[in-house]
Symmetry: C2
Subunit: 343 residues, 2 copies
Amino acid sequence: MITDRQLLILQAIIDDFIRNAQPIGSRSLSKKEGITFSSATIRNEMSDLEEFGFLEKTHTSSGRIPSEKGYRYYVDHLLAPERIKTDDRRIIRSIFADRIYELEKIVQKSAKILSELTNYTSIVLGPKVKDNKLKKIQIISLTKETAIAIIITDTGHVENKVISLPPSFDMNEIEKMANILNDRLVGVPLAELRDKIYKEVAVLLSQHIQNYGTLVSSLAETLDISNPPKLFFGGKTNMLKQPEFHDIDKVSSLLSLIDQEQGLYEIMKQNPAGIHVKIGRENNNVLLEDCSLITATYSVGEQQVGTIAILGPTRMEYSRVISLLEFFSKDMTALLTKLYQNY
Amino acid sequence: MITDRQLLILQAIIDDFIRNAQPIGSRSLSKKEGITFSSATIRNEMSDLEEFGFLEKTHTSSGRIPSEKGYRYYVDHLLAPERIKTDDRRIIRSIFADRIYELEKIVQKSAKILSELTNYTSIVLGPKVKDNKLKKIQIISLTKETAIAIIITDTGHVENKVISLPPSFDMNEIEKMANILNDRLVGVPLAELRDKIYKEVAVLLSQHIQNYGTLVSSLAETLDISNPPKLFFGGKTNMLKQPEFHDIDKVSSLLSLIDQEQGLYEIMKQNPAGIHVKIGRENNNVLLEDCSLITATYSVGEQQVGTIAILGPTRMEYSRVISLLEFFSKDMTALLTKLYQNY
DNA sequence: TGTTAGCACTCTGTACTTGTGAGTGCTAAT
DNA sequence: ATTAGCACTCACAAGTACAGAGTGCTAACA
């Protein structure tokens, strides 16, 4: 069994390594306050901790560094929730202080502020729009061959797309069509729009609109908000500040991953409620081997709508980041709930 | 005066340095094809070229590298316009092949493709919307206190913003208001909207709408598309691949500049027509000291609407990039002109 | 029996040395 | 004018030496 003293040492090592990014040896550890026993004792304990798999050496006579398992234990059992500085609270609150109504802008600003607060990279998966309900569809003709379709959701989200009209399409029919669509589709969650168009509305349209076939399909496609939610980033280049990423090749592939977006999206979209920590290889991605990702979710009422994550080195300030994310996600949820709950 | 042989040598040195990023000495240069004279001769010529300020040494007995002045001369006088590979042509054409109507998407895709083609970072300043003319304003109520204002331009560009309504605002008046606005403002260039609202429409509104004051101001703000055009990027991390940026600090500050956007925007917005090359310190920015920026403009008809740029090391493949940009900007202009000219 | 002092050993990082290769500038011969 | 030849310079890589921080083990100690 692991003793209390060993845990104390493990914690001290991890805390120190998170600060200094340097392997730490028994002698320097013995000088730390809170450590009352000698370096020799520490050596023995360290040896045990290494046997348990919590610590590693970079070479035979180096100090120890935490292993992934070590971090995992630390996160699961040793983490003292950190008090958030009032300054930080204030800064987070400031995101929500302005009377901004567009969810996207709030999310964008959040990403920026969280990365500034943590000095890591923040990634925010924007709110799912597919549960939003249709508020209105507008179709506005642009040229003879094109029109612009705009859909507005109950949360004030606007999507638009230019669609091409069938040749010799009667402009008057556009309005007719929009009316039919609005009659039938308002209040329907976006996710179901596409289906509903084909199943219920197409028939109706075919009775009223000439040449409706191509139009409906291009419209259905427009309305098919399988467009995945957007990713927002803050502090993309913060990784470069971390000493473990002073290797250009490492940083280059990591930044490419971030810039690609696709890969991260896959990771972000599995978003179980609450705060979750993935350490190193737990991320199942070679490029993230030396990184940890802490994710939190935010909701409108009970309905979870988005995910926010902080990406840093495995040597991340877990305690601080977790506290910040907890605080942030609560505040964000509260705000969104207030804004959109009663729609 | 500078002799033809000196120019030949200058060209050979620059061409070689662009390829290999290594200082080049007289002996290796003498082995190149096209060079018929001995290394000693070359040494003498190099010495002269250095005196003219076209070449530099990294240390007393190193080979020579081009100076900024050298690149400048090269770009101005020695550049052989490069034939664009048919593959590259095809790739650029493919941007415009899909029937995409949204200008933004075209621009986005352009940035991506140009960065892939050149292996440098591409920056595209999106089309100016302020010359676009208003096609339609829509105001749609969301809640008791908020409504969403949507404006559509003649080019199919859509902007929207949530506005807050004065307390106890009558929903019916929204429609009235929208009608008035559309009556008076359709066809007006966006840049003039704000003025026009205050000067012409406000009076009218005040006669028909109660409590119109705050509403008008928030609406005017919404319509004020002083929102600068967006910047689009491709290959942000391509810089990391260049050997001259293997220094983390350099690359870090450069990427920050790129991520900040603001700084680049200042540079991009002064966009004289045609293709322009800024080399090193000509960019007037310490962070871009080792970079060159090649800009090109694109137009709708005669009306120049946006700028596209390639950012690379001073040791950039000027010839290739210039040719690509020339080709691209012509094609882009042709497409846009076809799409939007006759609106 | 758990803790600690002491010691031999290991490994990294830095500094110093040395040799090599690619380069230069100058001079004298062609 | 051009070029061969030569002395000289500098960067870079390899080798050596050494200090510093660390380990593991053993034996003494409370």
